[in-house]
Structures are given as C-alpha cells and as structure tokens.
Symmetry: C3
C-alpha cells in the first residue's frame, strides 16, 4: 500500500458550460468519498497546454498535500501517454497527460521522483468512447491514489527524464535590452511578463533608476516599477511587482491588456529609462468595467 491522500487539486480546460467537471468529481466522490476536491481552475483556454502549464505552476507553491489532477489534453485517445508523477518525497502525485502540462509544476515541486505510464486499465473506468480520459482514466487513478494504491501499481515505470518537457520562454538579454514575453493576462487585465525585478537589476545594475522604457509592437511607454495597483498614476500604465514576484503591466482599476492591446506570447521589450525620460504613447481609458 502507498500513502493515502485527502485532497485532490483539479485543473482543466473543461470550462463550466458542460457537466465535464461535475462528472469527474462524481467519479472521485464515488471511488474516494473521503477526499476533498479543490478546483484550481477549469478555464484554461481549450487545448492550450502552455497556458495550463503556467496556471498549474502558479498554483503549486500553495497546493495542499495530495493528488494533483490536471487535464488539458488535446491528444486524448491518441498514443500520447497518460502519466502519474510522484514529487516531494511522496507528499504529492501529479496525474495527467504527458504533453508538457505537468512539467513546470513538477520542476517547481523539486522534480519527478517516480513516474509511471497509466497503462494498467484495471484502474480505469470502462467507457463507451475514448475521448474523456479525465473521467475514465485520470479521475479513477487519482481516487485509487487517495485510497492508498501505490504509484508503482498503476502502470509501467518510466524514466522521468523521458517525460515531455515544457517550453518555458526565458527573457533574452541583448546589451541593455531585455526581450521579454507576455505570458498571462489575468481576469483584471494585468499582463504578467516573464521577468521579475531581480532580472532588471541583474541586467542593468543596482542603480538603474526604477523607470523602464517598455515597447509593445510599435508603442513605447515609460513605466515606473511599483508595489501595488493603487500606486500607478491614474490613466498611465505601470509595472507592478505582482503576487508571484514577476512584473505585470497594469493600470489602476482598468484592463491594461485591453487598453494596450497586449496578449499572451506578445513580445515586450524593456530598456532602462532616464529619470527625465518622457517618451510615452497616450492611453485613452474606456469607461471602467466596474
């Protein structure tokens, strides 16, 4: 017997319109009634493995001990592998497709310690079709893990080094220029970049001044690095150190993504700006959504 778990943290691209999430949770409730399900999010954009991997990674430092069930699975029913990966001395097991979704989360949890391909179908539900692995493969496996089934019993062992890696975009340093990428636009329209304040200091030295020249497409703006949305000047975008310690382009009480026309995977170029730097493109704020 393996360790028993009490929590299943569940992330998917199933959305809310259908009963997909409810059916998966029904299977979990049926097979492991003692386990509590924590929904991380089910609104990863459909089929977007990269966005799902980022969202899961953002959750990992906070996720409770137990099983992580993650399903963004455009290759469901094909020969992509279904896997379970043990991390953190057995305090966690991540279950999902082997398509790069789990990679950053596994790395943040300290790396894979054991991994199996979920090829023993005695732990799966018999299904009338092969398109709903969340219900038929991943959920019953998560439930069996909660009930104490050892990871090793669930299928063939696989070398963790053979799991599909994720492509995490790193900022590129070109002299004093940092070529970054927008990785996430949140519900409030804040645009997270793949750099933190330490990256700026490393590239520009400790006395770079706190003001950044930000280029997105053809627009150039001068932005201050600040600690809260409220510290941004009204109507002007700023660079907020966000709750993950990364820089986010933000506007106070407005959507920066909408006002500036930025979305995930857009390039954002940063350079240090002198204190007197006033180059900026105007932003016309629309009426607030609030």
């Amino acid at each position: 017997m393996g360790r028993r778990y009490d929590t299943i943290s569940f992330l998917s691209d199933y959305g809310a319109a259908d009963e997909f999430v409810g059916v998966v949770k029904s299977v979990l409730r049926d097979l492991a009634p003692h386990a509590t399900v924590v929904d991380l999010t089910h609104h990863v954009p459909p089929f977007d493995v990269r966005a799902g991997a980022f969202a899961l990674a953002r959750c990992i430092p906070y996720v409770a001990e137990g099983v992580v069930l993650a399903v963004v699975d455009p290759g469901v029913g094909t020969d992509r592998r279904a896997i379970a990966v043990e991390v953190s001395g057995g305090r966690g097991v991540m279950v999902g497709p082997d398509n790069g979704l789990l990679g950053p989360a596994v790395a943040l949890a300290g790396g894979a310690e054991r991994a199996v391909i979920l090829d023993d179908d005695s732990f799966h539900l018999a299904a009338p079709g092969a398109t709903f692995a969340g219900r038929d493969v991943f959920a019953p496996v998560a439930a069996h893990l909660c009930n104490g089934t050892d990871l090793g019993a669930l299928g063939s062992p696989i070398d963790a080094a053979l799991l599909l890696p994720s492509v995490i975009p790193l900022p590129r340093v070109e002299g004093a220029t940092l070529v970054c990428e927008a990785v996430w636009v949140d519900h409030f329209g804040n645009v997270q970049l793949n750099v933190g304040p330490d990256d700026l200091e490393e590239a520009w030295g400790p006395d770079w001044g706190g003001r950044v020249r930000v280029r997105v497409g053809e627009h150039v703006r001068s932005m201050l690095v600040v600690d809260s949305y409220g510290a941004i000047a009204p109507g002007a975008p700023g660079l907020v150190v966000d709750s993950y310690g990364m820089l986010s382009i933000a506007l106070d009480r407005f959507s920066a993504a909408e006002e500036l026309g930025i979305g995930p995977t857009d390039l954002v170029v940063l350079q240090p700006a002198g204190a007197d730097d006033g180059v900026t493109s105007p932003v016309s704020l629309r009426p607030s959504a609030g």
Copy 2:
C-alpha cells in the same frame, strides 16, 4: 426514518454571475452539514428544460449514491409541481420541478419507484417571495432527505406514471437515410448527435464502409467515423465516437459547431458514402482559440 445520504449532486441553470448557487449551498450546509455537494453544472441555458434534462442524463451513470438536486424551473411560483422521485432501490432520490427535467435521468436510473409532490411546507423555508424554489423548497428537502427523512413524509404520494415525461428526439430511418438531430454542443464545439455507431450498422448493415455523407442545412460533407479527435484529418470534420458512445461531429482542436454553423435541435442527415465518395464542402479554419 429513511436512509441517510452523504452526497447531493446539484445541477441548475443558475449560472455563476449571481450568488444563487452559493445561497442554495449555504442552505444545504446549514441544514445538512455532513453532506458533500457535487456541482454537476450550473450553466444549463436559462429556462432550457430540454438541455438540462440531457445534461442530467449524461451525468447519471457517474453520479454518486445520494440526492440529485436539479433546478431548471421557468414555471417557479406557478402551479407546476415540485417533486421528489426515488430510484434504484432507494440508492438515489431526485428532487426538482415536475416539468420533464428529471424524466430521462429517472429512466436511466431504472425508473421511478416512489414519488411525492413536495406539498408539505413544514419542510420548506419561509420566504419573502415565491420565485426561488431552489433555495426555499428543493434545497431544504434535499437536506432533510440527507438527514434521514423518509421520502413519504415530504408530501403527497403521486403515481410515477403521472410525472411529466420528457421529449427525447429519436432518429428517423427513411430507407438508407438517417434523419438525426444535434442534441448538444459542448465547450470544445463538438456536436453530439442522437445516434451511435450501432444505429448506423443497424440501418446500413455490417459492411457499410465507415464513411458517412453528412448533410447539415445546404452543406454536404463526407466524414469518417473515428475513435479520437486526433484521428480526424487536419481541417476536415469527422464523426467521433464520443465518451457517451454517441456520434459527435468534430474537428481536431477546433470548434466544429462554429466552423460548420451547427447548433442544438438542428437536423443532420446521414447516408452511407462509398469509399470513393469525395463530395464535401470546404471548411476554412479560423485561427485556433487556443
């Protein structure tokens, strides 16, 4: 005393914008704190009893033992009846309006064994208005059932044959032609039809060839029956045997509903196509949502 239940599986058209679902769950938490609520979905289109009945039926094979609370209730506050229906030798009770919402689910669970009209208001909440039966009637009744109140105590018995039936669209066979209906478009844009692969074989014999001529409105396309979304040729729609064992018109990683302009209740006409059949209308894929 009746049997006690630990799970309430909850489906509605309440949406997420308001606190309706939260208030119903607060009532359940208050009256039956030991019970766990599993949200099936709350995004049945407003007032759409038929769509709710289909969604509930799709859940039923997976729903955990206990109470099913289902509320799509455009007639709330009128003389439509509120009912509770016992199924499966008492392993389940379904609670909701008598408007056809519960019918297919009850049938899939083996049929009604006992049923009552919820006309004993000592089991309801006193309410300042009559428009929120989910909160004031169905939730407290579900909680009392979890606490061991017998179904028979909740109101007047009613012959299950008198419950309002649901209208389930069946495919129509006209020679080699199957006149079907689109019954569900899911979050990914897959369009479920009211036929499975067995229906094709029954209509066309075992050697019909695997390729189907599909007519939707004025468009005719030739589609293969396949087992996964990934097995569909890129950019061409296919007929996938979905996770309910039904045929779904799908595109690999795109919304078939959007690309082909199909929605619920649309007629879809199927005929066997020769292996050399190449009649097809072009599909211009838009950029993926992902």
Copy 3:
C-alpha cells in the same frame, strides 16, 4: 482560544478564468483542512465594491455559521485597511477589506460586536508581491479563525463605528412619486429595485390598486405587481415580488434588463396607476436565449 468554525463562505470578484479562487482555497485547505468552503459567488464585477456589498447582503440570511471571506479589493496593497468583524454573538466573523464591502452584511447580521485591523503579519503568508491579499492575508486569517484563534489576537482593535460605511441607495418619496434605483440585474435578466411592496403601500395607502406606472428613461409602462414570473402576461413586463421580498422588473422567460435596456444604478420612477391606465411602450421580444 476563540470559537472554532467549520464553514468558510467565500465571495470575490476573482472570476473563474484564472486560478485565484483555487489558490485561496488551497491555502484554506492547507491551513484549516477541517473547514468546508462554500463559494457564494466569484463573479462580482471586477473592482465593483457596491455590487459585491449587495450580493453579500443578499447571502447573509442564508449563510451558515462560521467565517465569511469577502474580497473585492481594488485598493489592495495601498493603505486601505484589512479587517475582521465579529457578529451575532460570535457565531460569525467577516473578513475582508475595509472599503464598504462588508458594511451591509454586518448590519444585516445585527451590527459589529468586535473588530480588528489585520495588522499582525505573523498570521499572514510571506508573499513575493503585495497584490493578492486574498491569498496572503484574508485566507490565512480565515483559516486561523477556523482553527480557534481569537479575533482579538489577529491585530489591533478598532471601534466598529470607524469602519467605512456603505452607501445604500434609498428610494426617494416625492408626493405620490417613488424615485427608485435598479440595484441588481440577475442572470435571468430580472431587475431588482430598492423598494418592496410595503414601500408602495406606505407611500400610496392600502387601496392603491396593484398597478404601477413605471418610468425608465423616456419610456413609461404600466405593470402589475405579481407573485411569480409565470403570472406576468406574455410579452409584457411586470413587477414580481422576488425571493428577497423586493420588487423586480421581469418578463416571463425573457431578460427584462435586455428588453427594456435597464442596468444597475439606473433610476426607475414609480407612480400608482388607475385600473384603466393603459399607457405603455411596446416591447419587441427577441428570440429567447433558452
């Protein structure tokens, strides 16, 4: 030690697109695994403290004993205060920003009995940025309350009279005219006003007749006060006594807000109409969303 709590009722403007709600619930699960979280709603419009205060107030009569965690917090990271407020002889504690969000709920629960500013950061999570107080301040505080930490230990006491009040719009009586306000449009398009049937009787006497002349913008309509959506004449708007005992402008199975073009904060003027009053503007119903 304070009282222990088993339920955390959670309302926010976090939406569902991101993992914000899931991360907060992960923190709660980690720190107070015995507690059950009831999601009230997370779809308060972003930054809309007033809408959040109304939604929370509508929940309060039904919320289970325990901790209420409410986060609509445009001023996060600034000097707005974070607070916890005890109500109802200790049966409930409300946790959130001191920006008016909690005011109506606290009042409905009988008023604040004790309150503290959450300025003891030994009860908070260390965070890489200051923008996610739900995760770093409010959730751990809610968990500690569930675990039996006394309110008084969480920070400096504050006189409840110094908490930021909410602005609740009251109807204005001008002779026989009631100048009201639309305070809420629900998922079904019903438009709740800030008056109940008692207000009409108080303004117009017991024999006012049951028919109201309703002016919204330039449009005037005659509406009957009824008890259910089904009692409204087809295609004509009515005033339904809603589930909170307030008057809601509604259409049977259609969105009154959409058809009549009314939204929150719009003025709505009511006058008694004679039984023979036929002044009305036509409504052309669009096809039902259902």
